[in-house]
Point group: D2
Chain length 355, copies 4
């Protein structure tokens, strides 16, 4: 019904943090979205500049000629994408919501439901804890219904998306042991953003591979919160180690879980197939084919595969996505489509780039 209504509407959108990589990726998608008009590119550092001054490859595009605006001067848009460091949207969201603006926050401010957890992991008191319960956690495939009616979506981090898509159905159907989950995740460098640090210097990263955040990464409580929900509220503690791969885009999670007695590999695969058969962006790969990060490069799909070792009763799950697409901007637009009653694949072309 509503979808019918919105077939020809054009939605005005704004982007906060337009100069960062996630902002740039939103621009790429939304520029080609047939039912979107970008009205606002917000910045805290480049006010008054043309967008092509930051991204000169856009010197020939209309969007390149758009002027960056102070991020506090948000006009009356339909949807606002916020790609800002944590701590900012928590303070500003309420005011924007009362103006009738739908918010999709790609930052971390509304992901954790428990303000104490937020304080613990982000080292600051949450300024608007009431909003936490109002925010919907934006894994489209899991919370589609809630997203549809929400005005405030907290987009999950890239690691949580890559972890939850394979684990959620298995947990929901009780196929795996709660206390056995090990997530060994690997990410391209763009996930760290455009900020300049010695750790991201080309000469330090290239031809190098490392673990980081081994003692505790901010995406861990987020994953645990959601896994616990999938497990009917039973608290779940996981082992989670993120790694940095010398490449720009892409994320792969290798997940180890002990399966329940009597469960076979085929059961796990069938559980996934059932869960995702109607999904446009989650693909269980054909038997024997294992996803690699480049499969997902530049588009919004996630890919999965599974193998069970009967000796150890541990299954190895592998999931793959593009951290800037299904792990950030792509999923954000997927959520926008849901929120606005548009076809979910609108603007999210499905044939990716190769090689």
């Amino acid at each position: 019904m509503e979808k019918e209504m919105n077939k020809n509407s054009v939605f005005r959108v704004g982007i906060l943090g337009a100069t960062g990589y996630t902002g740039r990726e939103l621009v790429r998608i939304l520029s080609h979205h047939p039912q979107v008009r970008i009205d606002f590119l917000g910045t805290s550092s480049a006010q008054g500049q043309k967008y092509f001054n930051i991204y000169p490859e856009l010197c020939g595009c209309p969007i390149g000629n758009m002027t960056l605006t102070d991020e506090h001067d948000v006009p009356q848009v339909d949807v606002l994408f916020c790609a800002l460091p944590h701590g900012i949207m928590a303070e500003r969201a309420a005011n924007l919501l009362v103006r009738g603006i739908k918010i999709i926050d790609l930052g971390a401010d509304f992901r954790l439901k428990d303000p104490a957890e937020y304080e613990l992991w982000y080292n600051c008191v949450h300024p608007d804890p009431d909003l936490l319960s109002q925010a919907v956690y934006g894994v489209s495939e899991i919370y589609r219904r809630e997203i549809f009616t929400s005005s405030l979506v907290a987009l999950p981090g890239c690691y949580p998306t890559a972890s939850l898509l394979p684990l959620a159905p298995l947990l929901r159907h009780g196929l795996i042991d709660h206390d056995s989950i090990v997530i060994d995740a690997k990410s391209g460098v763009s996930g760290a953003g455009r900020g300049v640090t010695p750790q991201l210097h080309f000469s330090e990263v290239d031809a190098n591979f490392k673990a980081y955040g081994v003692d505790g990464h901010r995406h861990r409580p987020e994953i645990e919160q959601e896994l616990s929900k999938m497990a009917g509220g039973k608290p779940i503690h996981i082992s989670f180690t993120p790694h940095l791969v010398p490449m720009v885009r892409g994320m792969l999670a290798t997940i180890y879980v002990r399966v329940k007695d009597g469960i076979e590999e085929e059961d796990l695969r069938r559980c996934w197939q059932t869960a995702y058969e109607d999904e446009s962006f989650v693909h269980v790969m054909p038997c024997g084919v294992w996803p690699m990060t480049k499969h997902a490069c530049g588009h919004n799909s996630a890919y999965m595969q599974v193998s069970l070792d009967r000796r150890t009763r541990r299954a190895t799950l592998v999931s793959v996505l593009d951290n800037l697409m299904k792990g950030a901007a792509g999923q954000a637009v997927q959520n926008m489509n849901i929120m606005c009653g548009l076809p979910e694949t609108q603007g999210l072309a499905s044939v990716g780039i190769w090689p």
Copy 2:
């Protein structure tokens, strides 16, 4: 007029060599082209297989489910893209043309106008030299008019496109010395195709940079043929050195030319701006901004910049494009749009991916 006519038509297309990188890139573009239906994926090696068997990331797309067909069984399509090794289309083109099929040959068979040159560089007698004069050399910006009415387009190599776009206007307007042209070109590895050789082994290429074909590369006679035309028929000999960059996509040409007396840097830039002001895919960058290969990654644009050293009277021109897009599949579709009376930018989205 004709464009009016074709506003809603759908063109049936086929791709010969669909499993190679150029074929794959054509699939990516044409799958999202609003006025194209892919009717045929031809192969010499994977007959009967689903396309997703070759490219498993397409397992969730309609095109992935398409079956690869023997490359000799070309159905009655409107346009046939041929991404085959040289020597094959030269024999087959005539038969396809009489069936009313428009051909865009991404291979080398119809680029050189002189059969003797073809024989010299490709080590075989051209089987159908009459077709050489019929074929149009498909740099869209230079031969648009001829492409519009042609049924056989010989798509230029990637190096020639990157060389001709900056040089053609300067030569046509007599701003540079004919005998001074040095083209130092650098390409990503995908330009070498999907064939397996020791030279393309990851461990040999990564963290490595090299020149190749220094004693003579097949793209040199092609560049010289076209430059000579631009110079009113005066034979031009160039120095041309291709290099391999440890990256997948992208091409950058650094070109050195001696400018005529009295010509200033601004004259060169203005000449370019005039030549390309109405072009959608060629961009003279703002002063002081130099193009890099990633600017063009995944889309059909070429970028250019120039600097003149008054001491030596030599100008340094830099041009950049994606070897698989403006250097191959992108330009092929641009030509198809021209041949079919479609808007030239149809299906060739202009906001590229970054980073």
Copy 3:
């Protein structure tokens, strides 16, 4: 005593498989080894060629001028390094041993003690199973004593070395649960050798990350055999997933183990420190510093770090080495030094290259 004796001796060595990457790495080390003379470079493909024809960067070195010899014409050397595909040395070792030649086999023929396991994983009957018990498994730090008196060393694979160094002391001292071991390992591409396959094409590997051998990799039985020994013979089954990183050299293993009740992070670290305090090539990193693959690039060291999550009682161990050095050629020379009564660090410089 014997070391005293060998202070000025020069040992004649030969290398089978000299044209491969491991062979090349052996040449690099042994050329600068003060007590070694390379007498023989064996090949199955390049007989009669100068070594610099294969590796032109050696055109100015004496070793580059050495002629490659048929791999069957092994002269009377003191030590023979064999860097050949599996299946060949199993047939030839006995004959070489009777000639008094010490063998260090970098291949897989003598790693598994159980001929049935060999047959299962390498698809052929072992031609000389008696030799299996004679061969010493060459992790220098674990089997130094046995290596010292051995004439046949089976060099472990790179994954096993990276796995056993951190796990062996913890298992020996009973600090961890036997059935909880998950090894998530990542390797650079050179580990796959110099052979040409589509999977190792630069355009397929670059900017890509993938798991492989998830259903069972040949290094798994090798790791399990050794871990079981460390655990006093109790059979151990592990989860093991190798991954390919888009880089040439380097290996990192992230290992998850459940620790016994009462064991703290500090106990694990102290166990390592005690085990390795006198070792030249195994380094427990300072607290808070996590090893990355480039730390080990080009030299023979392995690095380790550990973190314990008290909630899950799982420890995360990270170990790093260069797959061609401590994972192959470096460890081979370390073993040679032990076998010949030389200082163990001879020829194995310890200050690595950076960046």
Copy 4:
């Protein structure tokens, strides 16, 4: 004679700028140099820290345990290597020289002989212009004699070394036209040092290739100064374009020159062979083999090849070296060996790493 004398001496050396990449490379070489003792690691940023705090891979080496010292507290060493930004050594060199310390300056302060040129390119008045004439320009193969008796060596930049080695003999023997020289040079990223800038962010550099400094790079006047000397004082103006390759180490220069009438390719090659036949670190490659950057990775050699196009009478020269070795630290140690009467190859192992 003097060399005889120094056969067993040990030289005390110090390194200013020990935490940078060039400083680190000096440490790598000098740690294994049999006649050197590192007495001093100077720093402006990490005083009092252990060297392994900066480079944790050295946690197991003696040099790693050395304490970094304020760069102003230079002890009485025999040789001081200075790897500092320009402007510092110009002020400090005189005081160090009077203390009898030999200086090898890897920075830019003493390269240009003309103080006006220095001011023009480095935007500051040279504080000690008298020293300029005293400094020897440290291309070992060209100025060996002068280096031998010098106390102040100005090490050339990496681009100049890669340019001068192939050009110097050809100019000296009058084989090429002075006004025809085009140098198109490509460098790995480590040449830009360890400083953090947005341009060196991994996500900006990886899979990217670009020209920079097209309007004038500081190495150009240095190259021109030296080429003019080779040409008997006749001023030479060149075209010079540096490029950044997405790799850490390595440099390749493609050089275009017009050859004099009657000169053939073989004359150019013979000229090189004669010039370099007794050199340990400069290699004219066998006919048909073209050097690539990885040939030189990690060691002090330079490689060269040439091709002449008879149509244009232009020769294409390609030279390759490791920017941190023959382009910086390696050549610095080569010079130290010369200055100290040591064998020139001492500590500079010639079998490089591959792949």
